[in-house]
Symmetry: C2
Subunit: 390 residues, 2 copies
């Protein structure tokens, strides 16, 4: 275990009646509210009306930023910042998934910064305060509801940048599993893959003597795997949705990072896939992560991958060697992704090897010359991983 | 899973170099510091000198409350409150285990309340603010370093009262496993039992569909059980001490309570043992918890106890019935306590049945007519449990 600092101040309201807590939070932070959301889904499920009803009961003044898309853009952030500054907004309230929340985070920070909000993502400036931020979650995936990170894309050059700061922790997040009942199966599946990836990026570490967090991470992975078929089969199963929703928040709130360094190469390699082809993040991770595992297996990765295979994928301990055990674990993970209706190869997405070098070079360049820490990857390693994903 | 609210704002600094963060915290909260500690152990291990050196470097004004004993007393709390009020103390800093921390919590709250600090424990008054509180932990057991609770005893009638309030969360806690190297084996053992009890009180719940937190709790229990023999054998094993120390904080920070109700009957039944006989809290729990398990087994407790036996005590699943599996799990838990050098019966402590009725009546009365929620206990149930512990 390595030395660490850990703090997560976000207040979680979880459950069927969790939305009622919004009133108290508005009273606490102020009733000049900027609502940030995506498309029509929050209107379709009636959540928009319920939120507005609560805000009206608090005599709130409400401004809106809507139309947030996946890979949320700087343009909307700037619009939101302007609204906040012009109207003395007191609370930024995201309703949606990671994109709405990340947009709201960028707005809440940008509203307390004099220059271009993009400066903050390029580390050209720092805000010293932040507007209070709340979230109402409708998608279990990104874990942004309890995380210190926000990822925004600048449209002009499609440059995607993340920023981690304690200012990004929401003051409160409202998680009601019912809001995820009507998600399309593909989105549910992608969310499950993303949640597991957040856990696995932290799990695959070279830091030794991390038994507690290893085991807690395995516990969370097993829970997601057990509940995934239930929600795929029965999207309105409250209990299974609840397990996945709480796991999704804990996956990314940094508890599972304590005492260790994570890897995160698979996430970065996937970003190139999503950037170049129109592949959803979770769907891309289902392709990249198994390939990454196969590659690092032979780079002194056998022991940890075999532990993963045994404890998470329940591979019986009779495969003769860590390597065989690990390979069986990876195969079962691929089988699990298939069971969610996802693909695990580039070919299944009509993608060949033509862009592999380009993606590898870009990913490594963006990583500052290398990616990952479980195995430090250069361009040829990244190429090999994409090739294993063919 | 039941609806819940969860927030834990305490900042954790963990590891060999964690003490260095004290400087920044003093700069943040103020350098008029009240130090709260127990006896000589923090001086013996050189920690007192190190803390004073850091405080001196920050030009701190330091007042001291020392001599805190197990089951910490109201008298010292009052002395501390007086010091805080007279000297405009800005930071209350506990150095020690649960007793020093609980005393510091009571002082930090009492300093912001006009009346007798005992009022707060009797719910006769409420403070609306609290002095910033920091802790430096030297004993893994009570988990007070990351909890919202504080337990104080009034000397005049030996009345023991707990108070849970968000004001009790320390602003920061410094956890260096090295500070636990020189603990006597008995104290280490009692701490391990206490940590596991905090997990098990939360684990034994009637709330269904709590797979994530069940599995994370099992992960933490298994980790403590695996590392316990290491620290008993080799008290200065950093890695094993670190696993137990972090598990001890997470055991009681309410994460493992999310979505469920806990039981806590065993804790209350143990308090009577400690009150009447001179038994340490952890040593008493090693006696009471197995007896409680045996009793609730036949009150529809088979299923959860069998799950505990399989997943935590690694009982093979071939005992023919949940009941047999559960009994084997309880036997292995007793065996584990013995392996720590602890006893699991009253007789081994020269305690007979003479006070059983008295303890049972008192415990149930203090519980307001019943104890526990996994099984709701009355006086005859409590008596039966004490008898099973004979």
């Amino acid at each position: 275990m390595i030395d660490f600092a850990f703090q997560n101040p976000t207040k979680i309201y979880f459950g069927r009646d969790s939305l009622q807590n919004l009133s108290g939070e508005v009273r606490r932070y102020g009733n000049r509210v900027l609502l940030v959301y995506g498309g029509g889904s929050i209107k379709r499920i009636g959540l928009y009306d319920k939120v507005m009803e609560i805000l009206r009961a608090e005599n709130a003044h409400v401004w809106e930023i809507s139309g947030v898309l996946p890979n949320p853009r700087l343009g909307l952030v700037k619009e939101g910042v302007k609204l906040c500054k012009e109207n003395d907004v007191q609370l930024v309230l995201a309703v949606g998934g990671g994109s709405a929340i990340d947009t709201a985070k960028a707005i809440a920070n940008g509203a307390c910064y004099d220059g271009d909000p993009w400066d903050l993502f390029e580390r050209k400036g720092e805000n010293t305060s932040v507007l209070p931020l709340g979230t109402i979650v409708t998608l279990s995936a990104a874990g942004s509801e309890m995380s210190d990170s926000s990822v925004i894309t600048r449209e002009s050059d499609m440059c995607k940048r993340g920023r981690n700061t304690p200012f990004n922790y929401p003051k409160f997040s409202i998680l009601n599993p019912e809001y995820t009942f009507t998600l399309p199966p593909f989105q549910t599946a992608c969310g499950i893959v993303d949640i597991m990836a957040h856990m696995m990026e932290r799990y695959f570490t070279r830091v030794e003597n991390v038994e507690l967090i290893d085991r807690m991470t395995e516990a969370a992975l097993v829970t997601v795997i057990n509940n995934a078929p239930v929600v795929m089969e029965k999207p309105d199963d409250y209990n299974a949705r609840a397990e996945i929703m709480w796991a999704g928040a804990l996956a990314h709130n940094n508890l599972l990072s304590t005492g260790r360094t994570g890897d995160w190469a698979s996430h970065k390699l996937e970003h190139e896939l999503s950037a170049l082809y129109d592949i959803a993040h979770g769907a891309g991770l289902a392709i990249v992560f198994p390939a990454w595992m196969k590659y690092v297996l032979d780079k002194d990765g056998e022991k940890k991958l075999a532990q993963f295979a045994r404890r998470v994928m329940h591979v019986e301990d009779d495969f003769g060697s860590d390597r065989e055990t690990a390979l069986e674990g990876i195969a079962r993970l691929e089988g699990f992704y298939h069971s969610l209706g996802l693909t695990t190869t580039l070919h299944e997405n009509s993608i060949g090897q033509e862009d592999i070098t380009r993606m590898a070079e870009r990913a490594i360049k963006l990583g500052g010359g290398s990616l990952g820490s479980f195995v430090k990857l250069g361009v040829s390693d990244a190429e090999a991983i994409y090739r294993l994903a063919l």
